[in-house]
Symmetry: C2
Subunit: 292 residues, 2 copies
DNA sequence: CTTTTGTCTTTTATCGACAATAGACAGATC
DNA sequence: GATCTGTCTATTGTCGATAAAAGACAAAAG
C-alpha cells in the first residue's frame, strides 16, 4: 500500500459513534469539521455507511437505518496511525526491553520487525531524536543513548527551569484569560479523582499532562511549550510501565497539584515558587526511583 | 541516482590537498581515519587518484606521481551534502526572500525547485521543525511561522536562561578540564582578529559559535547543548545576510567576549553573571535590529 | 601477533511511484 | 446569496528499489 487509510477508519468509527445518538447526519462540510477530516474522507465514510446498511444517503438526505453494533466499527488496532505504532513499539524496546545504552539501532531491522517500510522508520527516528534518547551517526547507524539516570537528571533540570518561569508567568495572566477557567476545570477533576482514588488513580497520568502543559503555555514561549513534549512522552511511558506504588504516588501528586493550583490562584510569587519546587522535587524523585 | 556520492567527492578533494604535502600516503585504515570515511570510500579515492594519474597504487605502495592541479579537484558545488543544499536554499527563501508568516510550504514544489526528491525535502523539514520556524499540519501542508520579532524574543529568552546557567557551571569545571585550554585558544583568536579587525571582522561569526558552544557544553546537559543548534543556525544566517555595521558590531562583540572570558577565568559568580548578561543583551539587540 | 589488504555483505540515503487525503471550483439546491 | 454537492486536481504518506557508503572477516604481509 501507498498510504494507510487510518484517518478514514478512525473518522469512520467516530462517525458511527455519532450515529448512535442522532437519527440523521448534517451536511458534508459540517460533518468534516466535526470529525476533523476533509470532505473527501467524509464522502468515503458516507459511502461505507451506506454499504454496511447503516444509512440511506442521497444528496442532503442522510437517514440512519438502524442502531450501530460492535461489528460495524473497525478494530481499534487498525485506527492507529503508523507513527503511533512505531512510537509504541520503539518505546517498549527501549524502556521495557533490555536495551542497553550504546546499542546500535538498525533502521532496516526495526522496519522489518514492525512490518513497515524503512522511510517511515527513518522519519520517526528523525522526529524522535529531539527527545535526546538517540543520536545519529551520519551515513551510519543510530546510537541509543538510553533512558539513563543522566538522561533523567538533564531532563528534570531543564524542566524545573522552564516550569518555575512558566508558573511565575502564570500569575501575570490577565483575569479574563481562558487559562484561569481551564485551571478551575482541572482542579475540579483533581477533586473528583481524589474522591474515588481507589478506582481512578490511573486517570492521573492524563490529568498531569493537561495541568503541566497549561502551566508551560503561560510562558508564551514556543521552545518552552515544545519542550513539554519531551517531558510528556517520558512521563507517559514511565507511568505506563512502572506501576509500583502507583496509587500512593498519584494520590500524593494530586495533593501537591492542589497546593500548586491554590498558589497560582493567590498570584503570590513566593508561594507559587514554593509549591512548584515542592512538586517538581517529588516528581523528579519518582522518576529517578524507577531507573535504579 | 540512489545516493549522492558527495562523501566520496569531498573526501577525495581533502585527500588531494593532503597529496600536495606528502610524497606518499599511509595505509587504508589510517587514511580512512584521517579523512573520516570508511575504507570502502578510501579505496574508491585511491582508485580515482590512480585513474587521473596522481598516484601509483599497488598494495602498500602509494607513490605520488605529480603535484595536484586545480583541475584535479571536484568542483565545490558537488561536494555539499544534499541536506546542506536544502538548508541553504530554504533559509534563503525564509530569511532573505519575501516569505510571510502564515505562508504554506509545499514539499513537492520545494523538491522540484531544488531539483531533488520529495523524501529528502520531507526529512529536512522534519529535522528543521525543531527550530520553531515551521509547523506541520498532519496530512496537509507545513506552515511557515516566520522569522518574526516574537521568534527572536522567545529564542533569546531561552538562550539567556541556558547560557547564564552554563556560564555559572563553567566556573566549577576542574582546573584540568580541557575546556580551560580551549578557552585560552579562543581568547588568542579573539586578540588575533581584533589586531586586524579591518580585514578579519567576518571571521567573528565562526568564532562566536565556537565560544558560546564551549560555554553551553559546561552545562553538561544535552538539552542545553542541543538548543545551541537553534541559536547557531539563526545567528549564522543572520550574520550572512545582514552585514550593515558588521565591522563595528563584531568589534564590540569581540571586546565583550574578552571581558566574559576574563570573568569566567576569575571564577567569580557575580562577575561572570554580569559579563554574560552584558553580552547577551547586546546580542539580543543586534538580532532584533535586523528584524524590524 | 598486529596491521594491512582483498573480498563480500549489510545498511543508509535517495529516488520515483501510487493510494489516501486534502482542497478547489462550478453548478445545484435551499 | 449562502451553503451544499459533484467532480476534478494537487499534495501527502508510504512503499520498494538501488547506488553509495559502512563495515565484517579471512588471508596476506610485516
Amino acid at each position: 500500500m501507498a498510504k494507510q487509510n487510518t484517518v478514514f477508519k478512525d473518522a469512520f468509527n467516530r462517525c458511527v459513534k455519532l450515529l448512535e445518538q442522532t437519527p440523521s447526519l448534517p451536511s458534508e462540510p459540517e460533518l468534516g469539521t466535526t470529525l476533523g477530516v476533509s470532505r473527501t474522507t467524509v464522502r468515503a465514510i458516507l459511502t461505507r455507511l451506506e454499504e454496511v446498511g447503516l444509512l440511506t444517503w442521497e444528496k442532503r438526505r442522510k437517514i440512519v437505518l438502524r442502531k450501530p453494533e460492535a461489528a460495524d466499527y473497525f478494530p481499534t488496532e487498525e485506527t492507529d496511525s503508523l507513527s503511533e505504532i512505531i512510537e509504541r513499539s520503539f518505546m517498549r524496546r527501549i524502556l521495557a526491553g533490555g536495551a542497553e545504552p550504546g546499542m546500535q539501532i538498525n533502521e532496516l531491522e526495526l522496519a522489518r520487525e514492525i512490518g513497515i517500510g524503512t522511510t517511515s522508520v527513518r522519519e520517526f527516528l528523525i522526529r524522535f531524536s529531539r527527545f535526546g534518547l538517540i543520536e545519529k551517526r551520519p551515513n551510519s547507524h543510530w546510537v541509543l543513548k538510553g533512558f539513563t539516570r543522566d538522561f533523567a537528571l538533564e531532563l528534570t533540570e531543564v524542566r524545573e527551569m522552564f516550569e518555575l518561569r512558566s508558573a511565575a508567568a502564570f500569575a501575570h495572566l490577565p483575569e479574563e484569560h481562558p487559562a484561569w477557567q481551564e485551571l478551575d476545570t482541572i482542579e475540579a477533576v483533581h477533586h473528583a479523582i481524589l474522591a474515588d482514588i481507589e478506582n481512578r488513580y490511573l486517570d492521573f497520568s492524563e490529568l498531569d499532562e493537561r495541568f503541566h502543559l497549561l502551566v508551560h503555555r503561560a510562558s508564551k514561549n514556543r521552545f518552552v511549550v515544545d519542550f513539554y513534549d519531551v517531558i510528556a512522552i517520558v512521563f507517559h511511558y514511565h507511568y505506563q510501565w512502572n506501576k509500583t506504588n502507583a496509587r500512593q504516588r498519584n494520590a500524593r501528586a494530586l495533593e501537591e497539584h492542589l497546593s500548586y493550583i491554590a498558589a497560582l490562584r493567590s498570584r503570590d510569587p513566593a508561594r507559587i515558587e514554593k509549591a512548584c519546587r515542592q512538586h517538581l522535587k517529588s516528581a523528579r524523585e519518582t522518576l529517578l526511583q524507577s531507573i535504579n
